[in-house]
């Protein structure tokens, strides 16, 4: 069920701000994400990406500003937003002491997916990843790359309108990264909107549009081609360096 199908934008954010004491983690950011888009949310460590994403997912209250996700208000309707999104945290957070299938059944069941279609869907997703043989393996014993792919599968098992991916490919080998992006494209082709943060600038090239966050503010937002033209750069890597040079925060 799609909420508010008439608007072009599935995420609309206006002057969203998050302060922790005197520290402004996210500083009056405004942007829109189109339905079905792969939106890259880039920035150096500590730029405020995760904080912004947590506000959009209803995990944290904004200090000020407004926004809607899937047509619901980020301040007042956090729980409604949660019905329409999937979220993959930066830190692996599936249950290590449950098996691959049990994790999928748990999270699918939470979103109210009926058990028969849930099992079919989980089986076909695992089959496509050549992973069906591991369905009864405890998640804790899987290698990192597989954990990450599984986390993505679990985040999308209920076919959400939007999936938020927080550094999904951190610490993952190049082949797995490639497979990961194939999964992202496939989800996108089924009209799921992808909101993804990454530190790999080659991945930024795969996004439809990219925003660059520096010290809590969005410094640039456009398609990778336009950004490269605008900053007279040959790669996204150069664009990033140019923008991040002035950063005060980060490690």
């Amino acid at each position: 069920m799609r909420a508010n199908d008439t608007t072009q934008y599935i995420i609309e954010v206006n002057e969203l701000t998050k302060q922790f004491g005197t520290f402004t983690a996210v500083d009056h950011i405004s942007f829109n994400v189109k339905r079905g888009e792969i939106f890259g949310f880039l920035g150096a460590n500590g730029a405020g990406k995760t904080t912004a994403m947590r506000m959009l997912c209803g995990l944290s209250y904004p200090t000020s500003g407004s926004g809607t996700v899937a047509g619901f208000d980020v301040v007042k309707e956090g729980e409604k937003i949660k019905r329409h999104i999937g979220y993959m945290s930066q830190r692996f957070s599936l249950y290590d002491d449950l098996t691959v299938m049990e994790n999928m059944e748990l999270f699918g069941g939470i979103y109210g997916v009926k058990s028969k279609p849930l099992r079919d869907r989980a089986t076909s997703m695992l089959e496509r990843l050549n992973f069906l043989g591991e369905k009864d393996t405890l998640v804790g014993s899987l290698p990192l790359g597989w954990k990450q792919k599984l986390a993505f599968v679990v985040a999308t098992i209920h076919q959400p309108d939007i999936v938020f991916l927080d550094e999904p490919t951190g610490g993952v080998d190049p082949i797995t990264r490639r497979q990961f992006w194939e999964m992202i494209y496939e989800a996108s082709s089924q009209s799921t909107t992808i909101f993804v943060t990454t530190h790999y600038m080659d991945e930024a090239e795969y996004c439809h549009r990219v925003s660059m966050m520096v010290d809590g503010k969005i410094k640039a937002l456009d398609s990778p081609q336009n950004l490269k033209r605008q900053f007279e750069a040959t790669s996204m890597d150069e664009v990033f360096r140019t923008l991040a040079r002035g950063a005060q925060r980060g490690d």
């Binding site: 209250y61 979220y87 692996f92 599936l94 249950y95 449950l98 939470i110 979103y111």
Partner: protein, 368 residues
Amino acid sequence: MSTLKVLIKKEVLQFKRNSFLPRLVVAFPIVIMLVLPWVTTMDVRHVKVSVVDNDHSQFSQRIISKIQASEYLSLHSVSPSFELSLKSLEDGEVDAILEVPHDFEKSIATGFPKKVSISANSVNATKGSLGAQYLAQTLTGSINELRSSISPARHGDLFVIQNRYNPTLEYRNFMIPALLAILMIIITGFLPALNLVGEKEAGTIEQINVTPVNRFTFTLAKLIVYWVAGLIVITIALVVAWLVYGLTSVGNLLTIYAGAFLFILTISGFGIIASNLSSTMQQAIFFMFFFVMVFMLMSGLLTPIESMPQWAQYLTYLLPPRYFITILRSVFLKGATFYDMRFNFLALTVLAVIMNLGAALTYKKRSS
């Protein structure tokens, strides 16, 4: 409803797969019930007595043999001088000294008896005062016997003591019901608290918080598993009490289970509050430990509430174990009914509501 089912399935799977918890639920009540009733005793036995016999009479012989026969007293030595006995007392070899004065037996006959002295080591106040009392009782008995042998008509025992409800004066019988309360605190208070904080530490709670799962449902699913575990534990403990100590409840077992269930609700709610306020296991453990200490020492588990100072007695009204321990002891030993215990049940219900409201209010799906 179906979300709850999914979540309960998750908790049961995790519980079963834990290498520690299922064993704990079985082993814990058995070990506690086998060991603690023997050691948590306030009975004073084998008080070591040194007799200073200055009388060398039939009477002093009778006292000595009585001390030897008693299971509460044991004769350390018969010494010729008080100084020698005092030395043993100082060295810790002797707990009490009984000094029979010169010509004591004769003085009884004259009607102007001399005084027998008892000196007890009261570093351990309970042992000292009880030891002195036991000695005094033994002495009174012997003196009465001596008097009645002089003139049978005049002297008999002046009082009769009857220990109602715990006729053999077994401290065990007093402790066993209370130990059930300790078991419940640990299994249904500590464990769910640690489980919930464990999800915080592992980060899995975040993946749950980003779903539409209702916080009540999530917590309830966890608690149901521990409630069932708690009822299993109490059943095992009751069976052990019956098989090993032959102790069964005089009152209705349903009343015991009703009290247990209310207590489980209260204490698990308390555990959830502890875990909501903590972000690491360490914090939760310290938080729980502090209150468990207070529960153990102030709820009348070991020492009677009536002997506490007035202000402390008022404080005990806030402690859930107070009511549960009272219910357990009264129903178990005296056969009290639900109606007799209505005040305690009411108080536990109020505390259960408060704790669980607190648990619901302190759970935050979203950080501010």
